[in-house]
């Protein structure tokens, strides 16, 4: 059930109608049942995985809280991490590593038939396993008190707006909102409605239209001119941003209708001037997760420059691998790690530059955007062959510019609005415009959503991660 589908609109209408009629306890139960229905819509068999993960981490959380013996606590948190990573390992990575291992043996002349599981990837597994891992670690660190109510915890794990593509919520933020009595007021509906509308615009107007440029370009780059190939890379940069941040906006908007505030996951990432800034603005819930539960435990920047670089590399390689069991994601992670290392000595310089509105700042912004785009090229290419073929297309200057798809101009409205948001440092800048202008902008968005929006039920890119 996609957020941009008719089924979801009906589903949300029913859940919301029941929700407003009930008291807090029943509201949580309705949200939990509807979350399981939402998930089962994809594949009911994998519901057992979420339930298993919920049961295991619920009891581990309680035991962690009760125990004072540090050895037992360590064992408990280790078992939670092992269990959740084990789930990920089996369902997401086993076939990839088994296949890669056999390929490596074949390079050495040893032919072995791989034993593959051929299991389809359960949607959202990368998101909810990371969420439950952080829960156990936060209790271990005594930053969070576990809930005794099993159903509240189950809702924390499975809350449907953020279940399949995040944000990866922390117990500190989401659990108290689930536990305490809440009332969704008109203001919540206003903000929620705005976020849903904006997210829908990003998804159906921008992302899904840009996909019509990106998909054919990357599946057959040999016929592209250099300009067409470059435009397809720009298109992918905005497609993946609008697809994922559009999903997050809708998720945050839907949650807000229930009076729950999910964290900000994207903060105008293409206005970054350095990789450090980029990762503080892109998929914030994942990058902060990797920082708090991987980079810091590895030693962060506390053990000297060399170890810092090693830690950055490890974190970004694993961050790349988190996106999918494929070498292109590992390569992309390695590239991001390299960028972080190269820029690290100049990070404070770029941080200072970010506060200025000078020509130099904007020119450098454009340069850095191209470094990010290079990363997206690695991310989107499915094999080394397709990557080399794409590089070939980028150097194909012999055939002029070629036909440019009009859909690329759909980036413009997003860009204009984002410049405004950045300039005013306000994500809700549209809602602060004069009444008539605001209504006209919303109306223009409405026309674009139904006039050029793609309603062909395209999945969100991040579902596959």
């Amino acid at each position: 059930m996609l957020f941009n589908s008719f089924e979801f609109a009906v589903f949300l209408g029913i859940v919301l109608s029941l929700y407003v009629l009930c008291n807090h306890r029943k509201q949580n139960l309705i949200l939990l049942i509807s979350s399981y229905v939402f998930y089962a819509w994809w594949d009911w068999r994998f519901l057992s995985l979420i339930m298993l993960s919920t049961i295991v981490d619920y009891f581990i959380g309680l035991k962690l809280h009760q125990s004072t013996d540090q050895k037992i606590r360590k064992r408990l948190v280790a078992s939670s991490v092992t269990f959740n990573l084990g789930l990920l390992g089996v369902f997401k990575y086993y076939d990839f590593f088994a296949g890669s291992f056999v390929d490596a043996l074949a390079l050495g002349g040893i032919q072995v038939q791989p034993i593959l599981l051929n299991i389809i990837l359960p949607v959202g597994i990368s998101f909810y396993t990371f969420q439950t891992i952080s829960y156990s670690i936060d209790i271990y660190r005594k930053e969070v008190t576990p809930t005794r109510n099993f159903f509240d915890f189950a809702l924390f794990v499975a809350f449907f707006p953020q279940l399949v593509a995040g944000p990866i919520e922390r117990a500190k933020n989401l659990l108290p909102q689930i536990i305490k009595d809440r009332k969704a007021g008109l203001a919540d509906f206003e903000v929620g409605g705005y976020l849903i509308f904006w997210g829908l615009f990003k998804k159906v107007v921008v992302a899904d239209n840009l996909a019509l440029i990106v998909d054919p370009a990357f599946s057959n780059p040999s016929g592209l001119t250099a300009a067409q190939a470059l435009i397809a890379v720009y298109a992918f940069a905005w497609q993946i941003y609008c697809d994922f941040s559009g999903y997050t906006d809708i998720a945050r908007g839907v949650a807000r209708l229930f009076g729950i505030r999910l964290m900000l996951n994207f903060n105008l990432p293409y206005f970054s001037l350095s990789p450090g800034q980029f990762w503080r603005r892109w998929h914030i819930s994942l990058s902060s997760w990797l920082r708090d539960y991987l980079y810091v435990p590895l030693g962060g920047n506390r053990k000297g420059e060399f170890r810092t670089y090693i830690n950055l590399s490890i974190v970004m390689l694993l961050g790349g691998l988190w996106h999918g069991a494929s070498w292109n994601f590992v390569l992309w992670g390695a590239y991001q790690g390299l960028l972080l290392m190269v820029f690290r000595p100049y990070e404070s310089f770029f941080n200072a530059m970010a506060d200025q509105h000078t020509l130099k700042r904007w020119l450098w912004n454009i340069v850095f955007f191209h470094l990010i785009c290079f990363g997206w090229l690695l991310f989107r290419s499915s094999s080394v062959e397709s990557l080399t073929s794409y590089f070939g297309a980028l150097l194909n200057f012999s055939q002029g510019i070629g036909d440019i798809d009009w859909r690329i101009y759909l980036i413009l409205p997003i860009l204009v609005i984002q410049v405004l948001q950045y300039w005013k440092n306000d994500h809700f800048v549209l809602s602060k415009l004069p009444v008539i202008v605001r209504a006209a902008v919303y109306f223009a968005m409405y026309c674009l959503i139904f006039g050029v929006g793609q309603w062909g039920q395209n999945e969100f890119i991040y579902f596959q991660f």
Partner: protein, 310 residues
């Protein structure tokens, strides 16, 4: 309310005003002339409009795209002197959709002698779920009403209608490049649209046995009653398929089923219950005959139609 939520109120008023003007000034199915429709929607709208035209029609052909590309009204007229119109659309419009067009042309043209329904066997085998999921029929019903036939569109249909009525489209070059031009071409040729040669695989896999979908049967029954009242005969003919050795059992079961079907309805007569087998070279794409073969197909149908009308 206006003071508290002025933007929302103005936005709703703007949308309401726009939608009202848009609805009043454009075709209810396609949004034309403000925008071009999809080819499928455009074909239905064009044929619906042709059915309502103030022309003299003796015979109307309805059916899928094998009929659209395979029946040439001018050839028919040249041989018989009868005024013929090709109101065929596409497969997913379904027999229900053809019935809506047939009922319209029969209601508005008392001079009409027969409706000839020409389809491929696959069209007759389409199930209700496939047709509803595709949405062409529901959109037709929502836009133009049900022409007195007992049927209501689904909720899903309303969503599909609303989205496709608003969506901008690039009209493909092989369909004349614009909807307005397509309509001109269809009017010039009394609804016939010549197939363009293509180099694709024209063969389809046929099952061993032909199964008429019960839902399609319901619509034939409904059309039978409706046109019997108008005194208009319904003639049923299957379109040619590419010759293949694996077709024999399929063709046999098709023939049997269609003959049984015409026997069970008083006003329906089968004039070609076994699809003729044409060489692969006769087709530009699956089910679509090239123009010279469309003429041959038309000439084959003429005596069958005339005999049925006697």
């Amino acid at each position: 309310m206006l003071k508290k939520y002025p933007t929302l109120i103005i936005f709703i008023l703007l949308v309401f005003a726009f939608e009202s003007v848009y609805y009043l000034m454009t075709d209810p199915l396609t949004g034309h002339p403000w925008k071009d429709p999809t080819v499928d929607d455009g074909m239905v709208a064009a044929k619906y409009a042709m059915a309502g035209k103030d022309n003299h029609y003796d015979i109307a052909f309805v059916g899928d795209s094998s009929c659209l590309r395979g029946v040439v009204p001018e050839d028919f007229h040249r041989s018989t002197g009868l005024d013929v119109v090709n109101l065929c659309t596409h497969k997913m419009h379904s027999i229900a959709g053809y019935s809506l067009i047939a009922t319209r042309v029969a209601n508005l043209h008392p001079e009409l002698k027969a409706v000839v329904m020409v389809t491929t066997p696959e069209t007759m085998a389409l199930r209700e779920t496939q047709i509803i999921e595709y949405g062409a029929l529901d959109k037709h019903l929502i836009a133009y009403g049900n022409e007195g036939l007992d049927f209501a569109p689904t909720f899903l249909g309303f969503r599909q209608w609303f989205v496709s009525r608003h969506a901008m489209n690039d009209f493909p070059d092989k369909f004349e490049g614009s909807y307005a031009r397509l309509v001109e071409v269809l009017n010039e040729r009394n609804g016939f649209l010549p197939e363009i040669p293509a180099n694709g695989n024209i063969n389809r896999q046929y099952p061993k046995e032909f199964k008429l979908a019960s839902w399609q049967l319901t619509w034939l029954s409904s059309l039978n009653e409706k046109l019997r009242v108008n005194g208009v005969k319904i003639l049923l003919a299957l379109s040619p398929i590419p010759v293949s050795e694996s077709n024999s059992s399929f063709l046999q079961s098709t023939e049997m089923t269609i003959n049984e079907l015409s026997d069970s309805f008083s006003n329906i007569e089968s004039i070609r219950s076994r699809p003729p087998e044409y060489p692969a070279a006769a087709f530009g794409s699956p089910g679509h005959m090239l123009p010279e073969w469309a003429s041959k197909n038309t000439l084959d149908l003429i005596p069958r139609v005339m005999t049925a009308l006697e």
